[in-house]
Structure formats: structure tokens, C-alpha cells
């Protein structure tokens, strides 16, 4: 019974109990010498803690001057910063969509984006011919003969696009890293 009250004595001393608990403690304290002594000790401890002197620190004005001298330049408005960062996230999406669109258009038009690197061809026309035209055997044979070229083109373009992706990712990483570092310039002026 007493333990239950003893655990609440600290909160009672700090004025953190509700009215009902407060009344219960006060009623109990009138009859329990152990709890009374416990409370007295807690009060003494609190008094000693608060009255314990601390060494002199530097005057507030000197401290303030020291802080002001070292105050770095603060980051821009966070909303603006978020907007700047979101642009970086949207740019690759736009580029990727444009790139896919151009690939499809040029591929099926028999052109290639990297003129000179990849051989020109009319793949869609070859496929159409091999399936629907009157000479399917010739068309299929033509496709089979050219399969190494198609495969080479496919791998080359895949590598090329992966290269672009990695390059962009690296640039984006460097930009974002520099941006996060650049928010604070120690000893800088605003």
C-alpha cells in the first residue's frame, strides 16, 4: 500500500498529479510516517539540486558575440529547396519518356538516332513482309540472316541507354550532394 504512494511522491512534489490522486496522497501523508519522511527527503534533494552552485560561465554578451561570429549561412527556404530538388527528380522522367518516343519513331521509320554508329534498317517493314507478304520464306530467311545485326543493334542501344542512365544518375548524385553541402558555409556571410 505504502509503495503505491511512495512511487507517486515525486509526481506529487512536482505538482503533476490530478486532483483525486493529490487528495489521496495528502490524506495518506497525514497517517504514514514513512511516506512523510520520504517526501521530506525528496524535498531536501530537490532543494540541494537547485541550490548547488555552478561555476561561473562567460558573460552572455561575450557568448553571444562568439556565437554570432561563427554563425553560418543558413539554408534557403526549405520549400524552395524542395522545389529545386523535385526538378532534379522530374528531369530524368521527362528525358526517359522523350528518349523512348524518339526511339520508337526512328526505329520504325528505319532511321537510327546514332547515325553512323548503327546501320540503318527498316525492321518494321521486314517483319511485316515476313508475316503478311507473299514471300514469307524469303522474309523469314532474310530476318534470320540479319538476326546478328538486330541483336548487335539491340545490345548496342541497350548499352548506350544504360550508359546515359548511369551518367545522369552520377551527375544527379553529385549535384544533390553538393547542394546539401552548400547549404551551410561555415563562417560565411549571408
Amino acid at each position: 500500500m505504502t509503495d503505491q504512494f511512495i512511487n507517486k511522491l515525486g509526481a506529487y512534489l512536482d505538482g503533476e498529479l490530478n486532483q483525486r490522486s493529490n487528495d489521496q496522497i495528502e490524506a495518506h501523508l497525514k497517517t504514514c510516517a514513512a511516506c512523510h519522511a520520504e517526501l521530506a527527503e525528496l524535498q531536501l534533494l530537490s532543494k540541494q539540486l537547485q541550490e548547488a552552485p555552478q561555476p561561473e560561465s562567460i558573460p552572455a554578451l561575450d557568448f553571444k558575440n562568439q556565437v554570432m561570429l561563427q554563425l553560418p549561412r543558413r539554408a534557403d527556404n526549405p520549400d524552395q529547396k524542395d522545389a529545386n530538388i523535385s526538378i532534379f527528380y522530374w528531369v530524368p522522367v521527362v528525358i526517359l519518356i522523350s528518349w523512348i518516343f524518339l526511339q520508337i519513331v526512328f526505329w520504325f521509320s528505319g532511321e537510327t538516332i546514332l547515325a553512323g554508329i548503327m546501320p540503318q534498317q527498316m525492321l518494321w517493314f521486314d517483319i511485316y513482309q515476313s508475316i503478311f507478304d507473299g514471300s514469307p520464306i524469303f522474309g523469314n530467311l532474310f530476318l534470320l540472316n540479319q538476326i546478328d545485326v538486330y541483336f548487335f543493334n539491340f545490345v548496342l542501344q541497350l548499352l548506350f541507354q544504360a550508359g546515359i542512365g548511369i551518367l545522369y544518375g552520377a551527375i544527379l548524385y553529385l549535384l544533390l550532394r553538393n547542394q546539401s553541402k552548400g547549404n551551410v558555409f561555415v563562417n560565411g556571410n549571408q
Partner: protein, 188 residues
Amino acid sequence: MIDTIQITEEQIVNQALQGDRGAFGELVNRNYDSVIRVVYRLCGDMQLAQDAAQEAFIRAWVKLPEYQPRAPFRNWLYRIAVNVALDVLRKCPEESIAEEDEFIFEAQGMPNPEAVYLEKEQADMMQTAIRSLPEAARTVLVLREYSQLTYEEIANVLDIPIGTVMSRLNYARNRLRELLRISWSKGV
């Protein structure tokens, strides 16, 4: 120049948020004493405490745009100061913390050298006892006894439930009483 009487802390914070360094200086001026008191009790060394307080104010300036005016600015500052102080303590080897700081007492109110000595002894003993507490319990005790925060405010500052505040505070007080009982029996 800021009129310290007429302008409320909220207005000064708003000015500082706009990038007014002078306004932030005023915030430093107003909160220095309370921050140094808390940080000193956590660190137990005035030089470390001053370094930590300085770092805390610099961090507060940088993070000021993140401050939400739901809680008093001082409590937000305590959160930063406590984190910095504990970081400093973790990085600093125990033996490098000064065993005794140079106490400078006011001559007035000190009747004789013996009283000065007793006062110093009591201060050292108290600080040693506080420093011997586990970090979590020490932080809660310091915020309660030296900044007079309510349990709810302490819970918000440390991001812990109120029940945890109560249990840590009970633990800290019981532990301190055990440590100080010997000196109390001697009448110190």
C-alpha cells in the same frame, strides 16, 4: 536594434526566420542562461558546456526553418542542446572532463572561508552524483530540476512517453538519494 521589452519571443523568432541575424542574437541573449545551466548539469564541465551551448545555438540557427511554433522556442532549443551535450560527452573521454571546475563565488553572503569550502564541497558532490546517473535518467532529472519543465514538456523535448519521464525521474531521484545519504548523515 531590437526593443527587448516590447517584442515577444515569437516575433523575434519570426524575424530570425526571415534571416535577421540580429534577432537571432537576441534569442541567444535571452536563452543563454537557461541553456548553459542545463548543458552544464549534463556535462559536468563548464568548458565543455560552453562549447556544447555554442554548437547548440549554431545548430538552432541552421535548423530554425524547421522550428514549429506549437511548443515554446526554449523547449525546442533544449532538445537541440541536450542532443549536442550528449554527443559532446560521448566523444569526450571521461578522464578529460575536469574533475573540478574553478568555482568563483560572490564574496557577499559567504560569512567565512569554511562556508565557501563547504559550499564548494557540496557542489562538487552534487555534480559528481548527477554525472554518475545513466544518461537517460540524468537528462530527465536535469530538465525537471534545472529548467522546471513539466512532465509533458520533458516528454515532448525528449520524444518519450510521460510514463517513461516519471519512471526515469523516480529512478534518478532514488539513485541520487542513495548516493547523497552518506553526506546527509554527516550533515553536509
